[in-house]
């Protein structure tokens, strides 16, 4: 094995890229769970976003429109989950699983004519001054725009939950829906909006895989990224900043194992590929999760 072939600067730079789809999907799910809804369909929304984004981007030639399409696709699919769990009061765990199975089938069907095509890329943009700083420049400031969009969304969610009135209502709905209802807030409406935001974010995360990271469409290409995003929300104790930490930790493991594969490590490729999943399990065990939102996973029905 040749460890000197691994460039630490490139490693850190690709870490940020590897973490971005997880950040996008996880921050959406974080908002959903803070509103008291457990949507296990992240994987399905991500893969649907990946294919929607890819189709739109290929047909319009614009990656920006692709990401928009992915967000809309993810939100529409999540609305299906929202209607079932919020209006028809179905079990959230089972419905989330159904959403994943449905999304995998739907994306495979939609993406049939798009296998083997290359996606249009973002125009190369070089951030002046910041991008030229040695070491820090290539690591932090020379990425595609979506990396920064992800970070902006995390910051916005943090500020929204901490400082805005709407964020307070959302947290109240998640902590105790009976009390929030008694205060006159529309529990179902708040939750539906949160679910759609989660779907849109998961769609963006999926599109990041199919438009930037890979950039191609293949069936089942998310390969568990949605589930890892769910794990990272638990790891983060439902707090946005810790979510970033978890996603970068995960991105680091992914990138490191890819680099070790390329450097010809003595361990078989299959065992290295297990690393991100095993790391997720280890993280779930070691980190004692903080307290989950009080009404997480419970259906709300205003009975008289």
């Amino acid at each position: 094995m040749d460890l000197s072939s691994i460039n630490p600067i490139l490693l850190l730079a690709s870490l940020m890229v590897a973490a971005t789809p997880i950040i996008l999907a996880a921050i959406g799910e974080l908002v959903v769970e803070r509103a008291g809804v457990l949507n296990l369909g992240v994987e399905g929304m991500m893969i649907t976003g990946a294919v929607c984004g890819f189709i739109v981007a290929v047909n319009t030639g614009s990656p920006w429109l692709g990401f928009l399409g992915a967000a809309v696709g993810g939100a529409i699919l999540s609305l299906l989950f929202g209607v079932l769990t919020q209006l028809l009061l179905s079990n959230q765990v089972a419905t989330g699983l159904a959403l994943t199975l449905f999304g995998l089938g739907l994306s495979a069907l939609m993406g049939q004519g798009y296998i083997g095509i290359k996606a249009p890329e973002f125009a190369d943009w070089h951030i002046p001054l910041l991008g030229d700083i040695p070491i820090i420049g290539p690591v932090i400031f020379q990425h595609d725009p979506m990396v920064y969009v992800g970070l902006i969304i995390v910051t916005a969610v943090w500020a929204f939950l901490k400082y805005s009135r709407a964020g307070l209502i959302l947290r109240a709905v998640g902590e105790n829906h009976e009390a929030a209802h008694a205060l006159g807030y529309h529990v179902i409406r708040v939750r539906l909006l949160a679910i759609m935001f989660g779907g849109a974010c998961a769609g963006l995360g999926g599109a990041y895989l199919s438009l930037v990271r890979v950039p191609q469409w293949t069936e089942g290409m998310t390969a568990g990224a949605g589930w890892i995003a769910l794990a990272i929300v638990v790891f983060a104790s439902w707090r946005p900043w810790r979510l970033l930490l978890g996603a970068y930790l995960f991105g680091g493991v992914t990138v490191l194992q890819l680099n070790l594969q390329a450097a010809g490590a003595a361990i078989a490729v299959e065992y290295l590929s297990m690393a991100p999943y095993l790391a997720t399990i280890v993280v779930l065990v070691i980190m004692r999760a903080g307290r989950a939102p009080g009404s997480l996973g419970q259906s709300f029905h205003a009975s008289r």
């Binding site: 028809l88 009061l89 995998l104 089938g105 589930w227 065992y271 297990m274 999943y277 399990i281 779930l284």
Partner: protein, 359 residues
Amino acid sequence: MITLEKRPQPSRVWTFATPVLAVVLTMICGGLLFAALGQNPFVTIRTIFLDPLFSEFAWFYRPQLLIKGAPLVLIAIGLSFGFRAGIWNIGAEGQYIVGAICGAAVGLAFYPTESFMIFPLMVIAGALGGFIWAMIPGVLRVKFGTNEILVSLMLVYVAEQLLASMALGALRNPEGRGFPGSRNLTQYPSATSWINEGVGMHWGVVFAFIAVIFAYITLSRHIFGFHVRLSGQSPRAAKFAGVNPGLLVLICMGISGALAGLAGLFEVAGPAGQVSIDFNVGYGFTAIIVAFLGRLHPVGILLAGGLMALTYIGGEIAQSNLGLPGAAIQLLQGMLLFFLLAVDVLTNYRVRPKHKVAT
């Protein structure tokens, strides 16, 4: 507008009617989907749901029904225990793979010795493999409070990598001229799970029926079944009744893991024949749909497993005869689960027209 009113008790009529209603709705929506894909909806629906049973080639398809149905029923029966108690083992696919690897490894270790002892040993190894794989999320949940949904799911991806490494490395056929995949177990009389290949009978089918009977008796007649049902409906009441929640998690995970492992072993030693990279085809996930479609009841699961096997076979026929994409069948199965969850509201709630309350 309409409003929902909670029923004091779940409706008995709707408990039986909702799965049927869901199937009918899926057929209608599936038909619309197929029409959108440029197919004749009536022909497609008939091909998927009726041709495997009643067409002129049905003699060929009927055995397939047993072959596809057996693993689904075996896995779903195991999952139903946990689902009833609120323990979500989503990683049956991983337990299925590991069971197959362990069972096949034992069989291959004895090659080419012939003995009646080999197959029973393989069965034990398969069940044990699935059991141990399911114990990982079980023990982690009991000891550390980790979420068993996420851990069991992560282990599916780990198991898939393990399968690839086994098919390419340790279990590869030494006489296979370097091709990936193990020796073919169906050509090794002491290790094959076939009883009669012509009618689709293998030991997995036998075990599936035994599992249904065993689950039925356990759930309706045994104190353990009572504890499982009680824990799902009211965890607090279960505690007062003397249920040890940690032990219950381990037992439920263990049962579902062992049954999934068994299903994997019977598949690898029979219909699949060998350990190969693409051995698993998603039975572990489809079994979740089967468990819910069967309302977590053993007899219901048996019927649901049959129906789901039908869509698999009908899907293959539609794929080869009508050129229907394979993903459309996957979508149809997902749709079925959605409709089932949606119409379930009728079991627990009464739909009433909304009337203004005079104040």
